[in-house]
């Protein structure tokens, strides 16, 4: 069972990665016992499984993901939400108000209007349906304060870090509350706009240097230096 690429080597679509009894994982496809890459990315082997960690990809909804979206349309019984994916997501009124919905009495635009940002969870999605959102969990629903940063969705795991090391460090050092949307949208809420700016700066740096090792330490140093500089001025 030959492998034609080392771990973490760069592949482009069509590259033959392995031949033989392998399982096709993410961003690869199988044809007659051969595993080919389907996206540009880095090869990863996991037992018998061949994966490509994509360098270029867009967000594809997955049930259970937390996402941040913008309301783009108000309908008769719900909202259409742009979640940065190939599909518009739907949010039904019944998910938002916990009592029977009366079209004569309740006005949808009073609850959420076009342009509002919401934090939600994907509760249903398959090939035949658009993604449906839910706002059941605490903290979900309309976003009223904070700042939004958009990054490439593939880099969200890097912002979280190994076992959440990066995100917990960020939260602690900047004193900001940070919510990650799996669709690449990040909400930063802090005590002051300066704190938020600092956190955004760090997130941008993570996005740029996501592939360089020892990132958490460097981000930590950067935040420390920036804080120092601000205290002096």
């Amino acid at each position: 069972m030959p492998k034609f690429f080392e771990r973490r080597q760069l592949v482009v679509p069509g590259d033959l990665i392995a031949e033989g009894d392998y399982i096709a994982g993410e961003n690869v496809y199988r044809e007659n016992n051969r595993i080919y890459a389907a996206r540009i990315g880095l090869v990863e082997y996991q037992d018998n499984r061949v994966n490509v960690v994509a360098l270029r990809a867009f967000y594809v909804p997955k049930v259970g993901d937390t996402v941040i979206g913008t309301v783009v349309e108000v309908g008769f019984s719900g909202w259409a939400v742009d979640i940065n994916a190939p599909y518009l997501a739907m949010l039904r009124v019944s998910e938002v108000i916990k009592r029977p919905f009366k079209p004569q009495k309740d006005e949808l635009t009073k609850i959420l209007d076009v342009g509002d940002l919401i934090l939600a969870k994907i509760i249903a999605y398959d090939r035949t349906q658009p993604p449906f959102l839910g706002v059941d969990e605490p903290g979900m629903g309309k976003i009223t304060k904070g700042q939004i940063v958009k990054i490439t969705p593939t880099k969200i795991p890097r912002v979280i870090g190994k076992k959440g090391s990066m995100i917990s460090m960020l939260k602690q050092e900047t004193g900001c509350h940070i919510i990650l949307g799996q669709n690449g949208v990040i909400l930063v809420t802090g005590k002051s706009p300066e704190d938020e700016e600092l956190a955004i700066m760090a997130i941008r740096k993570i996005e740029e240097e996501s592939h360089v090792s020892g990132l958490t330490d460097r981000i930590f140093q950067m935040i420390k230096m920036e804080k120092e500089r601000r205290r002096l001025t």
Binding site: P13, A38, I40
Partner: protein, 244 residues
């Protein structure tokens, strides 16, 4: 307009620009040149200069055009008014509409269209300067822009033309050779899958010449394919270096 040359191949067997019959024009490819598109690429093949941009996949409007089982690929091949010697009207001509369709059909087999049903992906191909073989160069550059947009693909598509001028089968025709020559045969090819996605012919070739032409075109496509891979990787070379 320059006048028609008397012969296209000299006594040494070299072409007007000094190339051997089986030689490609110099090619320069760059990926990710546009910040506002989801994916983009640029190619210079001889005097051809072509830019490709990809948007999507995204929701398709009007909705009735969406297909329930796969993504819709939309292509626009367009020549800039200044791309040719005589100003070309910017409105899409019959030829451009046809080429848009031909290019779309050459790219479709390479894309996993069925992964994202009910969506659309737009490919915009802008010919800035034309010197023969633009449909082939367009396919080459558009497949790179698609890969850059992160759209899952079976393989990159490389394309190149062959033709017959002064009785000789030659690779990668330029404009004069295309117009004065006896035959022109553009071909698009997916090297890893060994599959042809576009094959057209204009002019006359004997069956033997045809077979020779196709195998020469496939050789050319393989060379272009290697340049495509290098260009796509070049964008991330820095990624690899720091990794070690």
């Amino acid at each position: 307009m320059s006048s028609k040359p008397e012969r296209l191949i000299d006594e040494k067997g070299l072409r007007l620009d000094g190339r051997k019959p089986d030689e490609l024009r110099p090619i320069k490819i760059e990926v990710g040149v546009l910040a506002n598109a989801d994916g983009s690429a640029y190619i210079e093949q001889g005097k051809n200069k072509i830019l490709a941009a990809v948007y999507g996949p995204k929701e398709l409007h009007p909705k009735h055009l969406a297909l329930p089982d796969r993504m819709v690929l939309r292509c626009r091949y367009h020549m800039a008014p200044f791309s040719v010697q005589e100003r070309k009207s910017p409105a899409p001509s019959r030829r451009e509409i046809e080429l848009s369709k031909v290019i779309r059909e050459a790219l479709e087999p390479a894309i996993f269209l069925e992964y994202y049903p009910r969506t659309a992906t737009d490919v915009f191909i802008e010919v800035l300067q034309a010197d023969g073989g633009t449909r082939c160069a367009s396919i080459t550059v558009a497949s790179l822009a698609l890969a850059d947009a992160g759209i899952p693909m079976r393989d990159l598509v490389a394309a190149c033309s062959v033709g017959k001028v002064d009785g000789t089968i030659v690779l990668d025709l330029m404009d004069v050779e295309d117009k004065v020559g006896e035959a022109d045969l553009p071909l698009a090819y997916m090297p890893n899958l060994d599959a042809i996605t576009l094959l057209q012919m204009d002019g006359n070739l004997t069956p033997e010449e045809f077979e020779k032409a196709v195998s020469l075109a496939i050789e050319g496509c393989k060379k272009i394919y290697n340049m495509q891979r290098e260009a796509l990787k070049a964008r991330y070379v820095s990624v690899k270096e720091v990794e070690e």
